[in-house]
């Protein structure tokens, strides 16, 4: 099953001919044969990495039956690229580009309001269903198929934790990077809902951090129902000084929440098992399995 992407996903790449686009498309297509084409205005009719190129998302979808797009377009143009994919009605858009202006993301979010497209990212490592489909930039060597669903806000920390899971013999159903930006597509609640319906996922891991309200909203969602599967949460940035931006973007303090302590306590109150630190996540999952 997995969530959002699987072996039936057919992916096109917007910005495939650039340096990053070429590198990551090549890696992703070697990992799993889900890639069916690329989009770059003006390059329609040509081939790149043995895949057909198209001038627009609409055209690529019509010709290849693509239902997902990886957006790996430079930041100044990434907003428009996402909007093009959303307006073409594609199922899933994964945007790995970082440093996209918030006002551009505001327009993207507006376009999402009247569509069924699922946006993952931006500033995300992407999404990986091990052994089936990779749309993104994450390393795959230390991943394996299995039953742990992971949703996270940061890339390398997630890779580290995924590697720890694999080392412990615990595979992953799907790993979703919701992205490190304030304005992003799917959030923790969306991931929790999908993982709940996914038969293959037996436990869900949330990797959160200071800033934003994703963790608080996840806690409110978990408190509102009997989730039925163990949820394990790690929230990093417990000792980050207030008022300083630490890499990823935070939010206005009056919008509430934001501190790691607040996030940890509301997730704990909602029934999530809290991992003490980044080396404790695998053990925390095992604790829930022993208890269950």
């Amino acid at each position: 099953m997995a969530i959002f992407v699987n072996s039936d996903t057919r992916v096109i790449v917007q910005g495939m001919t650039g340096r990053s686009g070429t590198f990551y498309t090549d890696q992703s297509a070697r990992y799993a044969p889900c890639y069916v084409g690329g989009v770059r205005p003006g390059k329609g009719g040509s081939q790149h990495l043995d895949l057909p190129m198209f001038n627009s998302v609409k055209e690529a979808m019509a010709e290849t039956g693509a239902n997902a797009s990886m957006v790996i377009v430079p930041a100044p143009y990434a907003g428009d690229a996402m909007i093009e994919a959303i307006e073409a009605g594609i199922g899933v858009v994964v945007c790995v580009t970082e440093r996209i202006p918030q006002h551009d993301m505001s327009r993207v979010k507006k376009a999402l309001q009247s569509s069924k497209t699922v946006l993952i990212g931006p500033n995300s490592q992407g999404i990986l269903t091990p052994g089936q489909c990779k749309i993104g930039v994450m390393p795959t060597r230390l991943t394996m198929p299995g039953n742990i669903g992971i949703a996270s806000r940061s890339a390398s920390l997630t890779s580290e934790i995924v590697a720890q899971f694999s080392k412990a013999g615990m595979g992953q159903s799907t790993t979703v990077g919701i992205g490190g930006d304030t304005l992003h597509g799917v959030n923790f609640v969306d991931c929790l809902k999908h993982f709940r319906d996914d038969d293959e996922t037996e436990a869900v891991v949330l990797i959160g951090e200071i800033g934003g309200r994703d963790e608080e909203e996840a806690a409110a969602y978990l408190a509102s129902l009997d989730y039925g599967k163990p949820v394990i949460a790690l929230v990093v940035g417990r000792f980050a000084p207030r008022g300083r931006q630490m890499g990823h973007a935070g939010t206005l303090s009056v919008l509430g929440g934001g501190t790691a302590q607040d996030k940890i306590s509301c997730l704990r109150d909602a029934g999530a098992v809290i991992a003490e630190n980044a080396d404790d996540v695998v053990a925390a999952v095992k604790r829930t399995q022993a208890a269950g």
Binding site: Q102, K109, P139, E209, V236, P241, N277
Partner: protein, 388 residues
Amino acid sequence: MMLSENQSKELLCQYGVLIPEGRLAHTPEQAEKLCKDIKARKYVVKAQIAAGGRGLAGGIKFAATPSAVANEARTLLNSKLVTEQTAAAGETVHSVYVEAAIDIAKNYYIAISFDPNSGQPILLASAAGGVEFEQLARMDENAVKTYLFDDKPETRDELIAFLKGVGIEGPEAVETICNAHEAFCENDLTLVEINPFVRTADGKWMAIDAKIALDRNASFRRPEFDSMVEDLGMSSSETEAQKSNINLVKLTGDIGVVANGAGLGLATNDMITDAGGKPANFMDIRTTARSFDVARGVELLLSDPTVKVILLNIHGGGMTAADTVAEGVNFAYSRAARKLPVVAHISGHNAEWGINILRDRQVPVEIFDTMSGAINRVVEIASSGRTG
């Protein structure tokens, strides 16, 4: 990136938001001289720092005469102001903003930012503006009302009704808020905060203090941003790191931290602190950084006398493979006179290669298989005061 008070007010003023007449001064003499140009019966002297919470921390002083202005400026300038939002050591006051004191009838709070869920601009408004607003808002979440801006023209009436609900009334007030919204949308801003937004005794609406945040990610289409943020709040090492694709935030400890990725950097610092150590910095090497960028980041740590030992916590992935970071560390060590001990946890893409690079080039490194192992060791070295 936050703008200073006077820059924020200048921008809002261009959009027709009323502000008290004021001048920026760097010395007490300058403050005294400049305030004579301001038509006012009384003055306010405000410490210019990047963090909020000044009012409660004694960073805002009233003065009746130009010589009193000079005295207050003398007390504030070069002092360290510790507020709720600064680091424990506080922030040094390099300039003061002198402005006309306004006869205030009532304080309000307004802010425009993005609503994270809808991604649309949102207005926050409260009838409890002023220095204690943030504390009040934390205790009582109903103290702040929110209104989602929409681009439909008929929403002006909704906005008027919303503002009336928090006690902000009259065409002048609504106009001011619409102007602030326009400034937000036209300048790639991520925050416009006016606190207090006041009704003056003579019935005008005015921004007494303002905070504006620019979106650095929009710099490619806002060439003016670079000059606006030139000397704002960032230490020179932080600015230097930015140029090298590294986010660096200076902290107060003695363990230099090199990590790739914001989440990994935060996780590392949490674990150091839990183990009884103190990170000297937060570091996030961006995915686009090359070896030379990493070298620059490591050099900044090596040249910082407060740093006693360096922790590498790297998970290679995609483009920033572990060997890229190791090469960078090696470059820095080959050039630096001060070779601090390195404790490393390196995993992920090309980890073995990265470890080999460090060992072959004789970087003084100890390698650990787990993060906890490396962190316990680095804390041990730092607390023993050994410097290799």
